[in-house]
C-alpha cells in the first residue's frame, strides 16, 4: 500500500499532462480473477530444462486460454479424477542450471490456479520428458508414485495425506509405475517381463511378482511406456503396431490379448510419439497416433493419422488426418473428443463422430503451446 501510494503519486507528478477528474469519468480498478471459467479443462505441459516448466490451462470446449501454472525444471503433472487438483513434480537447482537440486511436489487447486501446498521429495526423481507413467496415483489418490532414475531406477512412494515420501522401491531395469488395485503397480522391464509391486501404508514393500514369461520383445517390438487404461487392464501400443492388453490374473501380470492394427495395411504404418494411445471408455474405442514409412528409429515421429480402434472387434474403424502430434488424450463424455499436441506447438481438438466409424476431425486449435509441449491431459 505504501509503495502503491508512492509510485501513484510519483507517476502522476511525472506524467506529462496532469490528471483532471471529470464528473462523468469513473476510474477502473485493477483486480485479480478469483476463478477460471467453469467447465472441463485441457492441460498442456510445456516442459523446460533451463527455467520454469509451464502448464497451459485451456477450456475443453473451445480451447480458450484460462491461465497457466509455473513449476520447476523437467516438470511432470498428474490430474485428480475429479479434475479439481493438479499435482506436479519438478526440480529447482540453486542456480537454475547448476548447483544443488531440490525436487518438489506442488499441489494446485485447478479452479483458482493457486498453490495449495508444496513439499520436497528425493532428488532421485527422474529428469525426463513428461509422461503419465512416470507420475501416478496409487490406492485411489492416497499415494503418488514418482519415477526415479539415477540412472538406476526406483519408484518413490509419496503419502499425500502426510505430504512426504514414505518409500523408495527399487525397480532395477524397469520403467514406469501403473497403479493396479489397492497399493500396487505394474512396471515394464527390459527383459520383456512386466512386474507387479505392492506396498503397505507404512512404506514397507515386498518382492515383485513377475509375469510368467516375457510379455514383449524390447528389441524386435518394444512397447511404448504409456498405455491406455481399459477398466483394470492396460493396453500398450508397440513400436511395430501391435496392441497388447495386460491384466493382473491371480495376482500375476499377464498378457491377455494381443493383435496388430497394421497387419495387411500398406505404407509401413506404425504408432509414434510419447503418449501414442488414448482410450474412450464409454464407446470402448482407442485412438492411436500413427505415421507411415515406419522404420527403426521412427517411433517418436509425429502423427500423420489418428486411427480409431475397436478393442473388442480388434479392428481399425477409421483413419483420420492428424497434425504431427506426439501426445494424445481423450475426453470421457458420451461422444469422444480428442486433444493432441506435438512438434508444431499447436494443440488440436478433434471431434469424433461415432456414427461415422469414429472419424475424428479438427474442431479448434490453440497455437503456441510453448517450446516443448510434451504432454496433454484433460478433465473432460
Amino acid at each position: 500500500m505504501r509503495l502503491q501510494a508512492f509510485i501513484g503519486a510519483a507517476s502522476l507528478a511525472l506524467a506529462a499532462p496532469a490528471m483532471a477528474q471529470d464528473a462523468e469519468f469513473v476510474p477502473e480498478t485493477v483486480s485479480v480473477q478469483e476463478r477460471i471459467a467453469p467447465g472441463a479443462n485441457v492441460f498442456v505441459m510445456d516442459q523446460n530444462w533451463s527455467g520454469a516448466s509451464k502448464i497451459n490451462v485451456l477450456g475443453a470446449d473451445d480451447l480458450s486460454m484460462k491461465g497457466n501454472l509455473s513449476v520447476g525444471r523437467e516438470g511432470q503433472m498428474l490430474l485428480s479424477a475429479d479434475g479439481a487438483t493438479l499435482y506436479t513434480t519438478s526440480g529447482y537447482a540453486r542456480r537454475i542450471t547448476y548447483g544443488e537440486m531440490e525436487a518438489v511436489v506442488h499441489e494446485f487447486d485447478v479452479a483458482t490456479l493457486t498453490h495449495r501446498r508444496e513439499f520436497t521429495i528425493s532428488n532421485k526423481r527422474a529428469m525426463v520428458e513428461s509422461q503419465p507413467a512416470l507420475l501416478g496415483f496409487a490406492d485411489g489418490e492416497r499415494f503418488l508414485l514418482v519415477q526415479n532414475a539415477t540412472p538406476a531406477t526406483s519408484i518413490a512412494v509419496v503419502d499425500l495425506a502426510r505430504g512426504e515420501q514414505i518409500a523408495e522401491i527399487p525397480t532395477p531395469g524397469c520403467w514406469g509405475a501403473l497403479a493396479t488395485q489397492g497399493r500396487g503397480f505394474l512396471t515394464l522391464c527390459g527383459d520383456g517381463t512386466v512386474q507387479a509391486f505392492a506396498f503397505e501404508p507404512d512404506g514397507s514393500f515386498g518382492e515383485p511378482v513377475r509375469s510368467a514369461a516375457p510379455i514383449f520383445d524390447p528389441d524386435a517390438d518394444a512397447l511404448f511406456t504409456n498405455p491406455a487404461r481399459v477398466g483394470a487392464d492396460f493396453v500398450f501400443a508397440s513400436f511395430g503396431g501391435n496392441l497388447l492388453r495386460v491384466a493382473m490374473v491371480d495376482g500375476v501380470p499377464t498378457l491377455v490379448d494381443s493383435f496388430s492394427i497394421t497387419e495387411g495395411v500398406e505404407g509401413d504404418w506404425a504408432p509414434g510419439g510419447s503418449e501414442v494411445i488414448a482410450y474412450h471408455a464409454p464407446s470402448g474405442t482407442a485412438f492411436v497416433l500413427m505415421h507411415s514409412g515406419a522404420e527403426e528409429g521412427s517411433h517418436k515421429d509425429g502423427a500423420e493419422e489418428i486411427w480409431a480402434v475397436d478393442l473388442d472387434a480388434k479392428a481399425v474403424l477409421y483413419r483420420s488426418p492428424a497434425h504431427h502430434e506426439n501426445s494424445i488424450a481423450a475426453g470421457q463424455g458420451e461422444t469422444p473428443v480428442l486433444f493432441a499436441v506435438g512438434e508444431s506447438s499447436t494443440l488440436t481438438r478433434y471431434e469424433v463422430d461415432p456414427e461415422a466409424r469414429f472419424a475424428a476431425k479438427p474442431a479448434g486449435e490453440a497455437e503456441k503451446m510453448g517450446g516443448f509441449p510434451a504432454l496433454v491431459l484433460t478433465s473432460q
Binding site: E28, D46, M65, G67, N68, H115
Partner: protein, 173 residues
C-alpha cells in the same frame, strides 16, 4: 497536388507498416518466445487507414495491440492470458506498483491516464498476445512512465506473467 496526395499516402502506408512492426514484432523487450508474424501479415494486407483501424479496433480484434488503452504497453496482454483488460489471471497477483501511459480514446477524442499493472508470480503464457507500444514511454529517470522494467519488482513474487491496462483518470490535454 497529386504529388502532395502521393506523399501523404506514402506517409500513411509507412505509418501503418511502422505501427504494425511496433505492435507485432517478434522480439520485444519482454518477449521471451519467438512468435509468428501473424498480426503483422494481418495488418500489411489491410487497406484500412490507421486512424480508422484504431477507432474500430476492439481489444479482442485481430490486432489487439492497436486498442487505444494499450498505447504504452510493453508486455503480454492479460486478456489473452486467462485474465481480462483490467484483471489479472487466476492465481497471479497484481503488481503493487505500475507505470502509466497517456492514451487517446478515439471515441471521445480525450486523453486518459492508463495504469499498466503487471500480474506477477508466474511465467508468461506462451500463446499470449505480446504488445510493444511506447507512446509517451520514457527511460527510468521517469520511472512512472518506464516500461522496460519488471513492475513485479515490489511484490514478494516477482515472476512476470502479463499486463493489464486500467484507465485511472482523465488527462488534462
Amino acid at each position: 497536388m497529386t504529388e502532395l496526395i502521393d506523399r501523404l499516402l506514402k506517409r500513411l502506408d509507412r505509418t501503418v507498416e511502422t505501427r504494425a512492426r511496433r505492435s507485432a514484432r517478434t522480439h520485444g523487450r519482454r518477449s521471451f518466445m519467438a512468435r509468428a508474424g501473424a498480426a503483422l501479415v494481418g495488418v500489411a494486407i489491410s487497406p484500412v487507414l490507421p486512424f480508422d483501424r484504431r477507432a474500430r479496433a476492439q481489444e479482442a480484434g485481430e490486432d489487439a495491440c492497436e486498442y487505444w488503452k494499450h498505447c504504452a504497453l510493453d508486455g503480454n496482454l492479460c486478456s489473452t492470458s486467462g485474465g481480462s483488460l483490467t484483471s489479472c489471471p487466476p492465481g497471479s497477483e497484481a503488481s503493487a506498483v505500475s507505470w502509466v501511459g497517456t492514451c487517446r480514446n478515439p471515441e471521445d477524442d480525450k486523453d486518459y491516464l492508463v495504469s499498466y499493472n503487471d500480474c506477477c508470480g508466474k511465467a508468461g503464457v506462451s500463446s499470449a498476445t505480446f504488445c510493444y507500444t511506447s507512446q509517451g514511454e520514457r527511460p527510468g529517470y521517469r520511472m512512472g512512465l518506464y516500461n522496460d522494467i519488471n513492475w513485479c519488482m515490489a511484490n514478494a513474487n516477482t515472476g512476470y506473467h502479463c499486463t493489464v491496462s486500467v484507465v485511472v483518470g482523465l488527462a488534462d490535454a
